[in-house]
Symmetry: D2
Subunit: 477 residues, 4 copies
């Protein structure tokens, strides 16, 4: 397993195809908007080195028998699935979003679907993928999952778009590989990932065959451009954004301008029947991951809510306890879905375990449609000061500083600067650009509520309930 | 294990202390209001005899090594806890409420708390209880849990009530046993149970010591009077209430008029410090059971909703699918709590496994505060006919029958009588006296939403979240 | 204006075409299931005779200048609309549903649409209707609105049904009138109304022209059969259902077997373009009425919730106050919609005022999707005793009565029999057959939530908001 | 009435006591964070000059008979109240928050309570206030309401705080006036208002008499320091924040360091019994104002939601229409409360009309507890691009611009730059620092949900509902 400094060095060695706000930037250190993303991923290299939580954060490769980072592991049991969910909550309670989940979710989905594809189409994707996984594990790589196409007119299928490039597709098949063109959006962590794992974003029809493609490319491959944007504040004042100035993801809109991919890195190419299954398998793994990270976000919101209540002197109020209990309930409803999806996970043909689709979707759906209300509860307990607290320049001003200290006091036994810090945290988590990203990612990350609702409806065994109802009604069997 | 007919015979042999609507009735067959309750319990003697689901419905006694009904089993593993939840959903998808859960929940709670009490107070309750469990298993008994006192003025503690009997208490301690007086309410299944397992209903203070009492008595013991009430319809027409005329619980308000209990059946007596723990342990087991039965009720509601949509010709509508998906989500959010509470169950000193308190409470809380909305969804899909469908006499009338058949038709390929049957089911499940019981039991069974909210708040590790928030805010460690 | 006894006498004089449970019954007194409905309507003859609330309960006819019952009035101002809403809440706080609203809602809708139809088609419906209204006012009649067809397969339009009678239609046009066949469902109050006002239930297409028909018939006209069903309990014990044994509506499924209607009573016949507008106008008036009656139902639920909290000794608890405040909020959100719909009512071509469609729909939608939750809150505050309270026979038994009185006591200063009465009320209102009708009527009365959502969406001035958003975004004007 | 340029000139003439981020800034133009606030207020000087909406935006002074800006008017009728609500929605659909409401809300509250205080205490505040109102109207002034104290430990009353200045109080009474010290928070628009209207923030007890003080001071009075903070973006790129770069409020934490107030500007001083009533009266007026501004915010969100759906090609989807209908419902539920509170407004002793307290509170409560969900709906319809859209520098880059234009296309007939603009609007309104302010102001502006719930509970006529329930239960009258 790599160390933190090896990870940073590996980034430095990459080619320069990352842009932000019209400038090409060097990987990774130059921009304060990117550093908070790298800070997060670095933890996934640091924590497994310590003795605590080793069982959770590392695994034994079923391919090599080596001790590996769990973020490179193919799940071989229900316990593996449960470990992933719990590892995710652990990391995210520190960082909000650990980012490295998506790479391993993509590899697991590929390990399920390449095996099925080979069985149905006589292809040999699974073997290729297995070789790639070995390489990925041996080098302890960070993978980004590039799934969502830019989509153009969403009421049209890929081949119906006015510009064929609005979904990524194969433009040429050569003896040594394929050439692809298009763009993938919302590629979290891409500017500091080693590899992009490209997956189709939806089910396809025969006419969409060129769009049914999955593969891996180095994130600095020829023809790739990453147009990036961070949720971190641009402000210099650490205090103003105590959390997001340290930890925040960076997203890329990634443009594939005739990128060449050698065959050994191609895992689906033209088998349009499998595109939807691959998208669904990835979504299931990734929604399962959300059952770990979203409760962790609630943990932070709940902790902030409890803390700010103390700093307001209201923590004993009935309504405060009620709101905290509501946050607890929300966190655990989502987390139980992750646990249950693990417990009911099923071994697939490849030996890989897939979490229960319904439970994973229910968890993400509930998380994504409750986050805004959670933020409302935190703001409710905090009060208007969240957005009114004087700026850093006022607080540190010789003229204003002392008088502001006087008037921003809370309960007499608590330090004013701590109270200010606490309010800054609430602002950072609920009323900032960073909070905006948290909210939108909560709704759309891993798929929208409509997508999840549809997945639940389609996969649910409704007929067994209809049978039960018919029996209850006394219908003839 | 007993057979169904042995169970019925054992009821016949009991003394006559069951009253309904001012009349003493014989156990069990005479009253159509009681029979639907017995029908349910009978299934727990029938189904384990068949080969299907044997692993789920039976267990191996850790005391005797015998094959026993799982409803008499002390949970010795997380798998046992999971089996109980899944067995409960299986039975309840047929019956709505299986009733026999409460007895085994009480015995498990006692097995945890008697052991702790012995450790703290040097008593010998655990040994007594173990003997009693052997007797209970050997005779495959049905146990009722008599917990909720009538409570009088709920703002007062037991010893503060104007009438000391408003909570059940010990009135005399004798060499051979104790004498108790009081009344316990909401004793589901009591008129066709063999044993009443009596538990304290809340935490106690030193002045309440006489109220800190737990014990077992035969349901026909001297001094016991069961004033009963069934949710089944009194109507003769089976068709009018296709479900509740077959399956419906019966509740008892049970009066203990100086009932004698020999010491070997006393499991707590005066150790007021443990009363709250015992109440909480039972509540945890029982809320865990609700994570099996409430999803089963939703299964029936969802099945009825899908069925009635077909009979209305609207099953393809977007809003119908959306509402069905909402019911699916509700069912599984509750069930995942049951699975997670099992998975995170902990072995107690006695070797008994206790489900995770927070998860069990979150599941019951969510179930109890969503059931009414589920009924709204079913009624929404069904339409006004639910409460307007002509009565049996009209439908079977020579004059009106044919014309009603004409006008109650739905889609042309579906039989009118089936459509009528389907609407009767919706009425029975959502708009009847039986539905009233379902709703109230959903809110209050196993404890009220406030009780669950309080349990969650008290048991939750809030401080670890505050610590995470402080770290997120950049506080000095 | 008629007196109560004149109203009862007028019912006695009608022909016998009312059936219940397979028996033809005499209007009106014989059946305890019908009497609670007549009790309600009787109040609308009694209260206007007293001096209190005369301005609210009566009006001056714009046709004759006579003092008339407001339930026969055509609204000529915004104040008239407001008065109708407030009159409705006043009556319904006593009775739950006043029933007589639908007749006047139908006449007002007809007065708007007949005028428009005449203007577009050169017909002379408005004059006929005006004559009919004079007759209706002079005789102080009770009108039922018969709108909802039985509909068969709801995915099909009227002319597409396998049986053409599944929507009511004209089968013959004669010199002196028309003949109609079909059935109308959910005809509240029909068995004790004088007149049925028949309206189309939806928009129509050219092929549906025979279904585009509106008219008035006496409720005992030749060829009419009313198959009825009441929500009142069949039980003899008044105490068991203290409310619904006095006040409860009766519904009819009304069969039109070649009923002849003279032309002077026909108000639409073949102008299919207007069918949807007429249905919408009636729905608007009727949803406006719901903004009066539903808050009144909440008033009763809220009062019961407060009362039962007192009888439980918990009325000072924070969560109790919070739940009561939630009920207050729900009641007034609905009522404000009624007030606002009145304030923003518009005069139509005929001089009749129509309430604002959006506000009326928003009010009914909110009411219909919150009622079940209101019932949950009342049950939550009451506790399990709602459905467990021993039956009348037990309470009045010499053996059991005294001991039940002892154990059903609440706070020491409150009478036990009053506490029992209070719980019976909660059962009657929330956990009974009658409560089932309340719930279903709450969802579907005046149209389903989907129908209201659609009405809001279609009528709302969305484009003005899009314009505002475009301006906000800085688009070129 | 002043013109826009007269308003700006009047600001220029004021003393320099406004600080932002540690710098003293000149009123008003220098800081881009303040200008968006002034832009808003300027509209209230421009729009009344045009002919459109003159009746709504101006009024006739009951004191002088002059045509005045309605933002300086004392409401003399229900129509006046309705006009204020509708004027507020009109302005806020353009600006989000019009800011000038609070000044007139404060003057109206003072006109009610000073009259009552004089009647109870023989004081002469009402006359003073009337003179002040004439001055305010004649000069067409902008008033800020400075109400919320910084409060310190919220579990303590004013006189119990460790620092007596944590609530503003009188430190000296002189022959010519009073001296006050303390700080008021959340003073919207203060840096570009002419006058601060200072009110007590809560009910008081005898020991708090020095805190029971109300008065008016010029915003640049000696001893006043305004520490300000704007919600506007600091970014230079207009496009990035198309709305908030033009329109956004500025808030002040205002420090009163021994400020002298002459008696003719003092409107309450020591009559602690009236402090709570004054706070409540202001809250009622201000929550009534929210029933105009919050629906306007929803108008903008709804318009943005519809627009972004078009730019995504999904506007015909059922779920999109459903979500838009939900936004419509929310907007109008709040607005109906404003209309109903006006319609049920009551004349007070002074001749001033006060809106109905319950309706005003219900409206604000509903608005404040639904806004976050509204934002969720908008984000749901928009998709992840809201927070991922490349930054301005990328879009305008010669290298990246063209390729980004290609890949950010939506439906083929819509311009890409318009689509980008539309997404920027959604980001600005829902996922930015400005959105954070909108959310917190939605929850806490005019008081928190708990404050509103309490106000509803306290003012509601619960006993009449209990009486109705007792009658329904058949209690003896």
């Amino acid at each position: 397993m790599k160390t933190r400094s090896e990870y940073l060095a590996s980034l430095q060695a990459m080619k320069h195809n990352v842009w932000m706000n019209g400038q090409r930037i060097l990987r990774p250190w130059e921009d304060p908007q990117i550093k908070p993303g790298i800070n997060i991923v670095s933890l996934t290299y640091e924590w497994p080195q310590s003795t605590e939580h080793q069982d959770l954060l590392t695994a034994t490769s079923h391919l090599t028998g080596e001790r590996i980072n769990r973020f490179t592991h193919i799940h071989r049991s229900r316990q593996d699935l449960q470990n992933k969910v719990e590892m995710t909550r652990l990391y995210c309670r520190e960082t909000g979003c650990i980012q490295r989940c998506m790479g391993i979710d993509a590899l697991n989905a590929l390990s399920v679907i390449t095996h099925q594809t080979d069985a149905m189409f006589g292809t040999s994707y699974f073997g290729r993928l297995t070789d790639y996984v070995k390489f990925f594990q041996a080098n302890d790589l960070v993978g980004n999952a590039a799934m969502t196409d830019v989509k153009g007119d969403r009421s049209l299928r890929p081949h119906e778009q006015s510009d064929p490039d609005l979904y990524l597709h194969v433009t040429e098949k050569r003896a040594d590989g394929i050439v692809v063109r298009g763009a993938k959006a919302h590629n979290t962590a891409a500017p500091y990932a080693h590899e992009l794992l490209v997956l189709p974003t939806r089910d396809m029809r025969p006419e969409d065959a060129d769009y049914a493609v999955a593969f891996a490319v180095p994130a600095d491959a020829e023809g790739l451009t990453l147009v990036c944007r961070g949720a971190a504040p641009s402000s210099k004042h650490e205090m103003a954004f105590p959390f997001s100035s340290r930890y925040a993801t960076v997203e890329s809109l990634t443009i594939f301008d005739n990128v060449f991919v050698p065959w050994e890195r191609v895992f689906l190419c033209g088998e349009w029947q499998m595109a939807g299954y691959l998208a669904e398998a990835f979504a299931t793994y990734h929604r399962h991951s959300y059952c770990g990270c979203k409760p962790a976000v609630t943990d932070l919101l709940m902790g902030a809510a409890a803390l700010v209540s103390r700093y307001n002197g209201i923590e004993k109020s009935h309504h405060v306890r009620q709101k905290l209990a509501e946050l607890m309930t929300t966190a655990e409803l989502v987390h139980t879905c992750g646990l249950a999806a693990s417990l009911k996970g099923q071994e697939q043909g490849s030996g890989t375990y897939l979490p229960d689709l319904v439970y994973a979707n229910v968890g993400k759906y509930y998380a994504g449609t409750n986050l805004h209300h959670e933020m409302e509860l935190v703001q409710d307990l905090a009060g208007g000061l969240v957005v009114i607290l004087p700026l850093e320049g006022d607080l540190t001003s010789e003229t204003l500083g002392p008088v502001l200290s006087k008037y921003l006091a809370g309960p007499a036994d608590l330090a004013v600067e701590d109270r200010i810090r606490c309010f800054r945290l609430v602002e950072d988590l609920t009323a900032s650009k960073f909070a905006g990203l948290l909210m939108v990612a909560g709704v759309h990350g891993g798929g929208s509520p409509e997508a999840e609702r549809l997945a639940i409806f389609r996969s649910y065994d409704l007929e067994s309930r209809v049978t039960a109802a018919r029996r209850a009604a006394g219908f003839e069997p």
